[in-house]
Every structure is written in C-alpha cells, then in structure tokens.
C-alpha cells in the first residue's frame, strides 16, 4: 500500500492550525507535513508566526484550533511522550547559570529520567561532539557566546531525540563555530534525526534544509526544496540591470515587449527566467550595467514576503 507507506514517513502532521492572541492571528490555518529524517526549514520575517508555530509543535503552547500529530500521537493527549522524543534548542539562552556545564547536562538528563551513569556517558558524548569536553566544570558565565550555543545544542541532544527543533542555531556565531554546527547537524541528519529549523539565515536554509516553508503574516506561502523554489520563481539565474533614471522607461518598455519577467529593486531591475543571452542583450547602452548572478533563496524570500519591514 503506497499510501500507507507514505503516511508512515510523516513524522509531524499539522492540520489547519491556528493560534490567536487578543487582536492578532499569529498562525493562520497552517497545514504542514514534515517527513521523517528530513531537515525542514521554517523561513519568514520577524512576526511571521514561526515562533508561535514552534511553540505549539513542541507542546509548550496550546493551539487555538487545529491538530498536531507528532510521531503518530495527538499532541493534545500525548504531549509527554512527544516531548520525551524531542530535542528543543531555543534561540534564547536558557542554560542553568546556577550549575556547571556538566551539571547542566546531567540535570537536564534527569528531566528525561535518564539514569545517572547513562546520563554521564551521554553528557561526555555530546560535549565531545561539540568540542566542549575540556569545559565540564566551567561555570556558564565563563563560557563565550559561541560555547554557550554549542552547549545549548548539545543539551538538546541529551535524550537522543528523534526530532530536534533548532531555533536559529547559528545566530551570533563566528564562521568557524557556524560551520562546526552545520557539520554536526548534517551528521545528525545522516543518522536519521529529523530536524525542524526556524531560521532567518538563507545560506543556512539552502545548505542544510531538504525542504523549506516560507511563512508570512501567519500563513505558509510555499513549501518545497530550496533549489526547486528558486528555479520555479526565477530560473537558475537573475540578470541585474543597473539603469539611470532617464533610461528606466525605455528599458522597462523593452522588457515588456520582449515578454520578460522583471522586478524593480531600488536603482536596479531584476530580470528572471531569461532563456537565452540574446533575449536580454542590447537593453542598455553599456555592458557593465548588465550582470547576471545565480538566483538564491533570499530572492525567493523577498519575492514572497516583500522588501519592506513587516513590523
């Protein structure tokens, strides 16, 4: 039964999920299916509803309406079992500053009812994984921002979760630490751990995510693999034309008559889905004014959520 096999692959299923606060609809009738073993990115400007959505999926905040199933269990009735299989890495550092590095992990393991010896073994394992094994006895305040974040991620893995939720895992990290984290997340994926990754970092989403959802004003606008999203919106490349103000009308007219898709971005015009180089040459006087570059996820993001500030 192909249908059934497909159903078993879905590890998180979200059905017309809505979250309302007093005057605000934070999450508006969202449907999503996240498959087992994939890295799923959640993109969207601030206030798009990512955090509200994540808080509901991690059973911290109740939905106003709609359903969530995680690992086959209804979150309303199975929140404890689901949380036991989740690893949550928050964006905001909530390490326990009253405890040392190792005590943080040991105490956290105890919330999952992991026996002491096993907890110690796993603590050392995740500390080694994130190159923190020398810092066992450090106080949290003695750690740098990068170390704290690595420790937060390590803590999220202490219960060997089937699903990890990483809220902006590399925000504020230096490039070295960022690549270490990306590398570890890729390793984790190869072990079959499903990842849910709300992020503002388009490079991160393109690098790590099998699929991304783009959210805006509480709604999910689109879900697909980053490459597919890019090619369906823009083709492979974007041509950027730098135009003088007096030339603009002429160029726009030419683009219209050639039937090309374009968008004005400040002083530039972006042209998409250009099939052949000939179709775009001769639009402007100087060749320097015409430049082509690979289209990125960020272009898709802007296209769908607009270029103005949303809040």
């Amino acid at each position: 039964m192909p249908d059934e096999a497909w159903c078993q692959m879905v590890i998180i299923k979200i059905n017309s999920l809505t979250k309302k606060f007093k005057d605000l609809v934070a999450v508006d009738d969202v449907n999503l299916e996240i498959e087992e073993g994939e890295c799923f990115g959640l993109l969207g400007p601030n206030g798009a509803g990512k955090t509200s959505l994540i808080r509901m999926i991690t059973a911290v905040s109740p939905p106003t309406s709609g359903d969530i199933w995680v690992l086959g269990g209804d979150l309303r009735t199975h929140s404890r079992q689901v949380k036991a299989a989740l690893g949550v890495v928050p964006q905001m550092d909530n390490l326990d500053p009253d405890l040392t590095v190792l005590q943080n992990l040991m105490t956290f393991a105890r919330y999952f009812n992991i026996p002491k010896e096993e907890a110690r073994r796993r603590s050392m394992e995740v500390l080694t994984l994130f190159q923190l094994e020398d810092r066992c006895d450090s106080q949290i305040r003695e750690l740098s921002g990068g170390m704290r974040r690595r420790l937060l991620i390590a803590r999220g893995l202490i219960n060997m979760p089937k699903i990890v939720v990483l809220d902006e895992p590399t925000i504020g990290l230096d490039p070295q630490a960022k690549y270490l984290v990306w590398h570890k997340l890729t390793e984790l994926k190869s072990q079959g751990v499903t990842q849910l990754l709300p992020t503002q970092n388009m490079e991160e989403a393109s690098t790590l995510c099998d699929r991304v959802a783009i959210m805006h004003q509480g709604k999910v606008l689109t879900v697909d693999a980053p490459k597919k999203l890019i090619s369906s919106y823009f083709g492979d490349e974007i041509w950027e034309i730098e135009v003088m103000a007096e030339e603009r009308d002429k160029v726009v007219n030419a683009l219209e008559s050639r039937g090309l898709e374009y968008e004005s971005v400040g002083a530039k015009i972006h042209v998409f889905h250009v099939e052949t180089d000939e179709s775009i040459t001769g639009l402007v006087g100087s060749v320097e004014a015409l430049r082509r570059r690979p289209a990125t996820l960020e272009d898709v993001f802007f296209k769908l959520t607009g270029r103005s500030l949303t809040e």
Binding site: F21, V60, S79, R80, P90, N94, P97, N113
Partner: protein
C-alpha cells in the same frame, strides 16, 4: 484541571542541587538572622517583660520565630527565587520542553519552598533546644508542621508571582502582607494584647494558625482547638496550590 505528576521531583531535585551548591550564601538569612532576633528580643526585650504565668519571654517567642522564619523561607523562595528562575534565567521554559509539564515544574517549586521552610524551622528548633528553650517531646512534630505551613506560604507566593509584571512588585507583597503578619500573628505578643479589631483580623491571616500550632507543640499543651488551626493551614494550602497551577500555566504557555 491538570494535576502534577511524580516528575515534579525532578524540579525539586534541581532546586535542591543548586541550594546545596550555594548553601553558604543562604545561611545568614535563614539561620543566623532568626537566632539573632531570638537572642536580641528574648534576652534584650525579655529582661523588661514579665509574663503572667512566669514563663520566660525568650521561651514565649521561640515557637513564633520558628513559624515566622518558616514563612519567610517559603515566601522568599517562591517570590524572588521563582521569579528569577522564570523571567531572568528562563529555566522553566527549558524544563517544560522536556517531559515535565508546567504543573510538575510549579509543584516542584512549591514543594521546594516548603522544604526550605522545613529546613529553616528545624534549624531554629535545634538551636533553641541547645539553649534549653524547648521542653516538650511534642516539638518533634514541628518540622512536619513547618512543611505544611511552607506549602501554604509557597503556594500563596507562587500565585502572586504568576501575576506580577516585574520583580519590584514583591515589595508590595512583603511590605503589605508578609511583614505585617510577622508582627500581628502572635509571634512577639499574645493576640489578646491588641484591640479587638486587630485580634479578629489576625485570626484569619495564615501565619496565626502556624504560630498557634508551633507554640502548642513547643509547650506541650495540645488541645482540640488546634485542629482548627491545622485545618486552616491545609485548606489554604490546597486552595492556593491549585490556583497556582492554573495561573502559572496561563503565564507560561500563552
């Protein structure tokens, strides 16, 4: 109505671990201070006070000091302590993402607050016994009474904590609620010394039944009227405990 599960013990253990790492910072407030108050008032003021039945004044105030500092322990732990963990350290957010639910976390906080009351009350009792100010074996029941009293005061404190906007709001709690009880619940003077209106009010404030119980246990003078004091502590404790679970769920999960 959601209840807590056995998992609350994990929150309680966490608070216990932190306390015993930093215990030396807590000793002055909850052992040295009550002993100083006991000695200063008992010996200093006591020299001018003659009690009708010939009891020494310092013996009169021992049980009151025990009950009052048990109240302070639970109240500080579940106002400043709870608020700090909740708002500044975001400890609860981290924990409710694990199999513990909000109710487990809050029950752990309240039971820990009550444990602090028990430890404080017991320490003062031991010091008082060493000074030969305790004569009845009934005093052995003081630790469990402090624990029940602690459940009540910790629950009331958590309910307040669940609705305050900032840490400064606790000034009101202590100035208008806790400190008045310290003076008007029969710790330092018999309630009958007050005008009748004050006496009437003091019968319903939660520290009064605790002082009555500890005083009866230290003096070994048990009577049926104490049952009312015990019931008051249990009922107030149970009611505020349940309210605390509801209001904290509201604060932490919306």
């Amino acid at each position: 109505m959601r209840l807590f599960s056995w998992r609350f013990i994990r929150m309680w253990q966490r608070n216990g671990d932190v306390f015993f790492r930093l215990w030396h910072a807590e000793v002055p407030g909850f052992v040295a201070e009550p002993v100083l108050v006991l000695l200063a008032m008992g010996l200093g003021l006591g020299a001018y006070v003659g009690l009708v039945d010939g009891q020494k004044y310092i013996e009169f105030i021992v049980p009151g000091i025990i009950a009052a500092y048990a109240m302070f322990s639970a109240s500080f732990e579940c106002t400043y302590g709870t608020f700090f963990r909740m708002e500044y350290q975001r400890t609860f957010d981290a924990i409710i993402a694990t199999p513990l639910n909000v109710e487990d976390v809050i029950a752990g906080e309240i039971f820990w607050g009550a444990t602090r009351s028990l430890m404080t009350g017991t320490m003062i009792l031991v010091v008082a016994a060493a000074f030969q100010l305790v004569h009845s074996p009934w005093a052995l029941l003081i630790p469990p009474v402090c624990f029940l009293e602690g459940i009540m005061f910790a629950s009331i404190a958590v309910v307040f904590t669940s609705v305050v906007p900032s840490i400064y709001s606790f000034n009101y709690y202590f100035t208008l609620f806790v400190t008045p009880m310290f003076f008007f619940s029969g710790v330092f003077f018999p309630l009958s010394s007050f005008p009748s209106i004050v006496e009437t009010i003091s019968w319903v404030v939660p520290l009064t039944p605790a002082v009555r119980l500890t005083r009866a246990l230290v003096g070994g003078e048990l009577h049926i009227g104490l049952l009312w004091a015990l019931v008051l502590i249990l009922v107030l404790g149970a009611v505020f405990f349940r309210i605390a679970l509801v209001t904290m769920r509201r604060r932490l999960t919306t």
